[in-house]
Symmetry: C2
Subunit: 408 residues, 2 copies
Amino acid sequence: MGQFPVNLEEAIEWLASFGGEPDGGVSRTLYSQPWKDAQQALKGWMEDAGLDTTYDSIGNLFGRVPSSNPNAQTILIGSHVDTVKAGGKYDGAYGIIAGILALDFLKKTYGTPAINLEVVSFCEEEGSRFPLALWGSGMMTGIYSFNDISDIKDSEGISFETAMMAAGFGLSEYRVRNDIQNFIELHIEQGPTLEKVEKSIGIVKAIVGQKRFRITVNGESNHVGTTSMIWRRDALHGAVNMIHDLYESVKNYDEDLVTSVGQLFVEPNVPNVIPNQVRFTVDARHPNESILSSFCQQFTEMFKTHAKKSDLDIKVEMWHEVQPAQMDRTLNEIVQSICTRSTFPFHWMNSGAGHDAQLFARICPTTIIFVPSQDGISHSPIEFTLSKDLETGLEVLIQLLHQLAYNH
Amino acid sequence: MGQFPVNLEEAIEWLASFGGEPDGGVSRTLYSQPWKDAQQALKGWMEDAGLDTTYDSIGNLFGRVPSSNPNAQTILIGSHVDTVKAGGKYDGAYGIIAGILALDFLKKTYGTPAINLEVVSFCEEEGSRFPLALWGSGMMTGIYSFNDISDIKDSEGISFETAMMAAGFGLSEYRVRNDIQNFIELHIEQGPTLEKVEKSIGIVKAIVGQKRFRITVNGESNHVGTTSMIWRRDALHGAVNMIHDLYESVKNYDEDLVTSVGQLFVEPNVPNVIPNQVRFTVDARHPNESILSSFCQQFTEMFKTHAKKSDLDIKVEMWHEVQPAQMDRTLNEIVQSICTRSTFPFHWMNSGAGHDAQLFARICPTTIIFVPSQDGISHSPIEFTLSKDLETGLEVLIQLLHQLAYNH
């Protein structure tokens, strides 16, 4: 391998070496030294490929193939360079690498495009170092501003601003661009769907909306032996009835709805005492906001009915909410026609995880293209995607960009 | 108040002063200084009442009114002097105090009985200092021996034997008596039944058997957003179905069956990850061993069916078991006739908690008589029973002993 990688497989290993750990994990949190090294290396590689590079004032890195038309808009392609702690080699990285390889190929093969083509390596998406996610795309789309980071610190007490300035960013005002015509993100699925349905390409219809709730059920502690079943105010029995019916109710919704109770605490949590309190979370996701809201309203009412029937007190609080983001139908139909023409097996699906594309969907026609994740595993050192699937994704991206930027 | 109490109410406060705490709680764990002080004080009071006192070699204290017949057997009355940490004033104490007052009254009023009457202050029942319960009655009934304490230490690392010897006991072999004709225990209910049904006296049919289980359900962790409902191996969803159906199944059993899930742990227990493991306990109690066994077998099979259906692994372990103990029908019918004659409102019931009486039931006709616990609360500084209920219990005990030991 020379200074820079020459193919996809090499590039994945090369980028993973910045923040790489002995067990194969990658830790490249925002504004850390491995993060700086990775962005600088990517800048070098982009320049080596003949792209015009710039950083914006927060550390998003761009590599551009300009159109000959000075009034042309820009098709932006890319993903995020940051990782979770001990994350994998593909999450985010794949979208940046494929973007650079696609632009390199298109420029060499077809020359100057009719529309500017630009790859972006977003500075941050995961929210792993600071409790704020989608920083890079949030600033680019004008949804975030410097106000959003004023009170934020990492786990070591370093403020967001201090870390940003130490990395050489945040020193000038942020200029929101108005030339973005489309945003296209290539990403690993991070779930098991494509593997289960045996398809190479996921055409993403929407990134689901999320609503997260905290439920507190209060009853009364008593001796399990001396308290007859009919006189109990058992918080766990009540919570179990609620969760049971929550999962039953999902069966009456469409297959796009997912709901989960991931966290549950029992008080006092000893074998021979009737629980007086149970706290649990509900996470509900669906690509359609009104269906999601209606589902959440229904289970909230159902929980309250259960509580009343069992003489329990209940508190239901929503503590986190993300609106669904619809991907662009026209872009997706082009992706479908490319897959059909090239006989790449594809599958229309939703993204249950969040991505930079969800913020761009608010300002321009946007889509996200998935490739399979082995065993659905992500955010782990054993995150893996087959080379042939990575290559298929890159091929679809190249054909899509060719059709959008050269067929004029 | 003189050196010794002259009535029930005074005696409860007097005994509670040994190990008494500022908040009204009582801590009198086995072989501690407050425990020694309490037994010595009770010995003094018994002697003041004209009873012949002895300790056995483990610290059970006896006060005897001997019959004139040297071949007479003995009716033993009493309860335990030890308490849980920060327990109440009535648990155990009431049964000893009532025994002393009853014998004092009977001796003064009717003279020498036809059968020996003896009150016992058992050294230990709760299992609060050492992980072994029913020590006093276990040794008296020959069910325990010194072998059972050989490896047992308290939370400070002091061995059972060391603590016993420091208190002046355990220095000679234990002599199991063969003169016990009946055992009768007066005790607070420690549950809400008598209060709910508005009765003063509980006639105990049986002390329930207990079986306690540890259930481990293993599934697979996944991202809650990216894993469709149909591809999940959600350990919490599986456990919730099991517990839901456990409580449903109780409805088809008689009202004497109680079952509880008191403890439940979820792994990894974070809102956005599908749980891969749930561990929970099941406690089931019933006065009939075959009904209890059959119930436990049924839910074990039902749990395994649920696990199989949801592609989960399951382990069911029984870690604690107590056989039910039947109280003597003849003694109970005498108690009922006393209550009827004296117009004391009574209720036939089971004891869901364990008591010294459960071991005596194996060697002689035995019963236990309950008085109400306010709000069903016990093992707490706010444990409380009305004076009039305590007096009613004492009156029943006196009449019962009179009938058994003088009507010959």
